[in-house]
Symmetry: C2
Subunit: 192 residues, 2 copies
């Protein structure tokens, strides 16, 4: 997605250790118009790949919520964001899978209420980054456990050097990313 590549080139920063900071428009401050166009682009690209009848878009709190919402809007689907920690509001029964956060250095459980995923669902998983694939793998496991069909996986930015795409291969779903970022020392290379 040309607009996104240009934006990362101008505003993205490699802050060391392979961590790319896009907090001015993607995951702290958010540009709603770009977010809307990202959702429309996912809808267009997945339709090209034969994925159109999506019933639910699934993401993990918190960074994925904005792009997952705009994607759900574009598909006319519902959004579910998996919760990361138990709260007093969570009184039901849940699908649970463990993810390891690269940027926070901690393990956490991702949880989705069993009422919201059924065997009739066509699920699109959407997140901001495809890096090591740990969070996405946990989301794929939640979907598999529910018996729903995993129709595709969409991430805004891919870091091919961290090889998350290989981790997701077993799920046989199309993986679409809108920009790729590689780094060598302080240098970022960004492409579609």
């Amino acid at each position: 997605m040309r607009e996104l590549v240009d934006r990362i080139r101008v505003e993205g920063r490699h802050v060391g250790g392979g961590i790319v900071k896009l907090d001015s428009f993607l995951n702290h401050q958010v540009d709603p118009e770009l977010t809307r166009r990202i959702g429309e682009e996912f809808q267009r690209r997945f339709e090209e790949a034969g994925v159109s009848a999506v019933t639910r878009v699934v993401t993990a709190e918190a960074s994925g919520i904005a792009v997952a919402l705009s994607t759900a809007m574009a598909f006319g689907a519902k959004l579910i964001f998996a919760r990361k920690s138990q709260s007093r509001v969570m009184t039901g029964t849940y699908f649970v899978a463990e993810a390891i956060s690269r940027t926070r250095g901690i393990r956490s459980d991702l949880m989705i209420d069993r009422r919201f995923l059924t065997e009739a669902d066509q699920i699109l998983i959407v997140d901001d980054f495809l890096a090591t694939g740990s969070t996405l793998l946990a989301l794929c496991q939640l979907v598999a456990e529910s018996g729903a069909t995993l129709a595709g996986i969409g991430c805004v930015v891919e870091k091919p050097q961290e090889e998350g795409r290989a981790v997701l291969r077993e799920f046989s779903a199309p993986v679409i990313t809108l920009a790729k970022v590689e780094f060598e020392n302080e240098e970022l290379t960004v492409y579609e």
Copy 2:
């Protein structure tokens, strides 16, 4: 907002201790079309209250992000979601304020990067619930510290019995909520 009141009456559940569960459309599973209309309703209601030139909508991760994004879309403003815990991506300098989560029973710091709030900004704070007001108070303190103008506070659901509105009075900004929920034993009363 009539549609929201009706939805809470059908799907809302009081799970004890004053905790109202709206996870089928608001803060776990999310209805994108309702979320879009909530954003448009906030824009209309705040404009009636004399608030129109909003530059940034501020919320806290994670439950507020969806409604804050749709509100930012309706205003043509940017969205900022305050982060709750430090990650390796957070390398800048931050405005910080402490909030106590009612539903999680923990204290946490809310953080916003100093680059994204300036004295020229007109800020609308948006969140899912106005209960005790602890999270909103922390967001107001972040905005005050930045020197930006707090133009208003919008919450989807208010629980008047928890008196959060009184906590926010010192900031002299209009507080608009779209539905009110009261409870006595297991009985919920919902009104505009």
